[in-house]
Symmetry: C2
Amino acid sequence: MTAPDPTGWRALRNTIHQRILDGTYGPGARLPRDADLAMELGCARTTVQRAMRALADEGLIERKRKGGTRVLARPVTRATFDIPVAREEVKATGRAYGYQLVAREIAPSPHSVTAAMGLSAPERMLRAQALHLADRRPFMFEDRWISLATVPEIAGVDLAVESANEWLLAHRPYSHYTLRFSAANATAAQAELLGARAGDALFVIERCTWLGTAPITCVTALAPPGYALISRA
Amino acid sequence: MTAPDPTGWRALRNTIHQRILDGTYGPGARLPRDADLAMELGCARTTVQRAMRALADEGLIERKRKGGTRVLARPVTRATFDIPVAREEVKATGRAYGYQLVAREIAPSPHSVTAAMGLSAPERMLRAQALHLADRRPFMFEDRWISLATVPEIAGVDLAVESANEWLLAHRPYSHYTLRFSAANATAAQAELLGARAGDALFVIERCTWLGTAPITCVTALAPPGYALISRA
DNA sequence: AACGATAATATGTATGCACTTATTTTGTCA
DNA sequence: TGACAAAATAAGTGCATACATATTATCGTT
């Protein structure tokens, strides 16, 4: 009983999805009005609305006032990823989590960080480089800049004990972010830290967060070969 | 007027979000019952529900029957990516799209593909290798296996003209997928095709799709250095 | 104290209705 | 013919209400 037959608006959602899959409503086709579908399927328009909104959120259909509802001709693959805290990600695989501060300094932000944060001029920031471990082996290396203007308290936190990421999440929630995935060859220094060879392909996650318009932090996280992000739907 | 002050349930959503950000509802804290919030904010419970559901979808709060609503202590970054068709992705950046079939064969599926598709034994499948171009330069290389058992018609399609991906999207919609992002060093052959150097870090997207339980296709897409996936919220 | 049935509770879902808003269609006038 | 105003349309939103369902809390029995 892994998937009990859904009832209610989920059933409706599936019915409509099925009709899209089997061609009843082909790519680009227009669907009946909510009211008509409600009549046909014997439920309230509100319920149809609900099912339709779910399908629209998934990127399967497009809804426009007066224009009606139509099946998207070129569906995109809409993938949702949950980027967990390193600790959770490690523990989820049943391994022991470890954390190690590699370096800490206060310095003017480099141009790349200044720009990414949307600042007009470099600022003095806290830079923390740290290593996340899984079963004592390198799992991910992060190079983080934290705005002292926005989060002055971070200067007094002992980052050798608590990861900057976790401290920030607990004390300084963010309202916006940008996220960037890419690949890069490991430098000699990075390879050394990650237990890889220079030139190895690393998975790169760059993330910046803001609270309102105030920048909080920008971090570049590097994962050694073997790391992958997975999604399914 | 980029962001007209929201009204209705969006305003409510923002109000609650704000209270989470400013600590009124701290990490792990329990929020008032929907009915109470509705009373306090002067609206119907339905409207609170709507706002709450939005926040829950974003991964900010957790709702449980009888348990009430609470702020997640360790919020994950929930990122949504739209993986577009290569043609659209290229055109979105204002460059000219090009497509080129590199190789086509019918062969038994290798173990990796057989396993990824959830099959118990290898099957004869169509393999198509193709290159997507942006302004005549390599943009992405894809190595695709298509199940002839599920999509026999594909054998009769001239893949030199139409990309397998676009043909499949138009004729054989999928109901489920898996998606995997990683990084890999380019082999000599891959580097050659992508106009890169052997060993360069490539961004790897692996995707398999199904219609119900029938496997449709598995594709490995390789992007040359410089490629990145971006999300913001 | 341990267990299990039972009650209480907060969210989930469904419905009918009224009204709003974006967008297209239509119609009129220049 | 074209441009602009007005009407029509289909989805979006809000509310009051009722009932469903999952979870937790309570209480009585052994």
